[in-house]
Amino acid sequence: MDQTKNNIRALVRLFEQSDWDELRVETKDLKLVISKNANAPGLTVLENAPRTRLPSTADAEITDATEPAAKSEPAEIPEGLVAVRAPNLGTFWRAPKPGAAPYIEVGQKVNADTMVCLIEVMKLFTPINAGIAGTVVELVAENSAMVEYGDTLVLIDPST
């Protein structure tokens, strides 16, 4: 039954990340309905077979377990500023190639889809967009340096 539990967890995660409104799964001993609409029909029926019910102690502990991850969120972003973070580990590049003009400079106005840098993983370059409109306040990451997952790359002031 540990498999069932993992599967449900995976489904919920998939659902959360999707743009679906509703997910229904039905197997021999499980019926699962997840919906973003609280009035969805059948929503109260979570599980048919009592054996598949997840033990409540484990549920409580899982909630507990997510705590440190939340705590470790990089903090210290100055009030009012928004961080552009590294979506994965890689090398931070400010310009398309050495010597070329950087994508952005401090003081520059950007839109959500303005490209701010490249992140390279094994010679594969991923463009990173600002994600928000505003003014570039600081280039936090250093050109050609390795950035880790979640590191702040650029600070943007969305109010200006």
């Binding site: 540990d2 539990k5 993992n6 967890r9 995660r13 440190p68 580990l89 090398t91």
Partner: protein, 456 residues
């Protein structure tokens, strides 16, 4: 040493184990962790910890490009993959090689050859390693009966097109074949689009026995004796011991020689395990597979040989001589390992992640705990439920069992549910003490007995 900085591409107890070996060899270390493991023991122990991705393994520990990128960027010249995750992916070994990083494992080519079931069986056959006796294709009931009498009942009818040979029907006598042949063929046709069948001996009373080897990639292969891992649940090992004393000595000798022959035939580099089934009814052994990595249960072999297998792995990766010959490897006493899992055995082994409020591992002569846990540590819900391994060593098997029972009783873990009570019940069971179990015993005998004792 030829290496200076090792990247640890794993988590949990094996990350800690590898980091200890690095310290022993005075190598600096970098660990690649997921966001959830930033404050783990491994992250604290390593000289540097790099967050490679978010908590889910598929976005972090299973990403070879992120891992090799982190290793290159942090100036590592070797990479240890541990077990699980990417340890047996040719891709990781290949990317390391391309980037000038010594992969602490076999070559990508070896990983692929032994990782594919069919090609592994071919390698075994070529090296004269016994496989489960079987027939060629059988297309009629009469052919199947004749093949079955050659192989010896009970047999299992399998689909030639089935991946790994999915079993279709077990037959204990000629009548069973007459009765099941057509249905089995039809089922194979439906499942694989090909109704061709073959006959294989059905091994119903087996022990899982494996041989630990070390190869230097230059043609030298040593064995470190055998292990018995017959206590399994859903093909997951639960208790492992060394040596495999339930198996007759002549069989064990043949098994070890077969393992070395197989490894030599592919010029094997790294620590590895050749796994066998020991058929207790026919007093014969058959090849299962090669595990081209360090295994969870390696400590029982370390305990009886006194050899640090992870240090040996690093030396081999550095191209250093092992400084060992077969006659220097002496087996002494008996060792047992119990895997400690965060789970609820009485609730169908549901995982039990959460905060460990008390962690008091047993101590004393012949007691070893390999773990990344400590008081206050939160077992994350994203990964395997194994939180540690309890290993004991004694002069005899009886002494080791008694030591294990004491150590399990002393092991205090609060805040989460674990399987220590079940493990104590297991090693205290008469069948285990008498060494009369097989690979089905835990599921068919022990768990029902445990449930009834626990009033479930």
């Amino acid at each position: 040493m030829n290496l200076s900085r090792v990247f640890v591409a794993n988590r949990g107890e094996i990350a800690v184990r590898v980091l200890r070996a690095c310290r022993k060899l005075e190598l600096s270390s970098v660990i690649g962790v997921s966001e959830a493991d930033q404050e783990s023991t491994g992250a604290m122990m390593a000289d540097r910890a790099i967050v490679i991705g978010p908590a889910p393994s598929k976005d972090s520990y299973l990403k070879p490009d992120l891992i090799v990128s982190a290793a290159v960027n942090s100036g590592c010249d070797a990479l240890h993959p541990g077990y699980g995750f990417l340890s047996e992916r040719g891709e990781l070994a290949e990317m390391c090689a391309e980037n000038g990083i010594a992969f602490v494992g076999p070559t990508a080519d070896t990983i692929r050859k032994v990782g594919d079931k069919i090609s592994a069986r071919e390698l075994a056959r070529a090296a004269g390693v016994p496989l489960v006796p079987g027939s060629g294709e059988v297309s009629t009931v009469e052919q199947a009966k004749s093949a079955a009498s050659d192989v010896g009942y009970p047999i299992v009818l399998k689909a030639t097109a089935g991946g790994g040979g999915r079993g279709m029907a077990v037959a204990r006598a000629d009548e069973d074949i007459a009765r099941t042949f057509d249905a089995a063929s039809l089922e194979a046709e439906e499942a694989f689009g090909d109704g061709t069948l073959y006959v294989e001996r059905f091994v119903e009373n087996a022990r899982h026995v494996e041989v630990q080897i070390l190869g230097d990639g230059k043609g030298n292969v040593l064995h470190f004796g055998d292990r018995d891992c017959s206590a399994q649940r859903r093909y997951q090992k639960v208790v492992e011991e060394a040596p495999a004393t339930a198996v007759p000595d002549d069989i064990r000798t043949n098994m070890r020689e077969a393992a070395v022959r197989l490894a030599k035939s592919i010029n094997y580099r790294n620590a590895g395990t050749v796994e066998f089934l020991y058929d207790q009814n026919h007093n014969a052994f058959y090849f299962i597979e090669v595990n081209a990595r360090i295994q969870v249960e390696h400590p029982v072999t370390e305990e009886i040989t006194g050899v640090d297998l992870v240090v040996a792995q690093l030396k081999i990766a550095a191209g250093e001589p092992l400084g060992l010959t077969q006659d220097m490897i002496a087996l002494s006493g008996h060792a047992i390992e119990c895997r400690i899992n965060a789970e609820m055995p009485l609730r169908d082994f549901a995982p039990s992640p959460g905060r460990i409020t008390a962690w008091l591992p047993p101590e004393g002569d012949g007691v070893r705990v390999d773990s990344h846990c400590e008081q206050g540590y939160t077992v994350p819900p994203y990964y395997d439920s194994m939180i540690g391994k309890l290993i004991v060593h004694g002069a005899t098997r009886t002494e080791a069992i008694s030591r294990m029972r004491g150590a399990l009783a002393d092991f205090r873990i609060d805040g989460i549910h674990t399987n220590t009570h079940l493990q104590a019940f297991l090693v205290g069971h008469r069948d285990f003490k008498d060494n009369k179990i097989n690979t089905k015993w835990l599921e068919t005998t022990l768990l029902p007995a445990y449930s009834s004792v626990m009033g479930d």
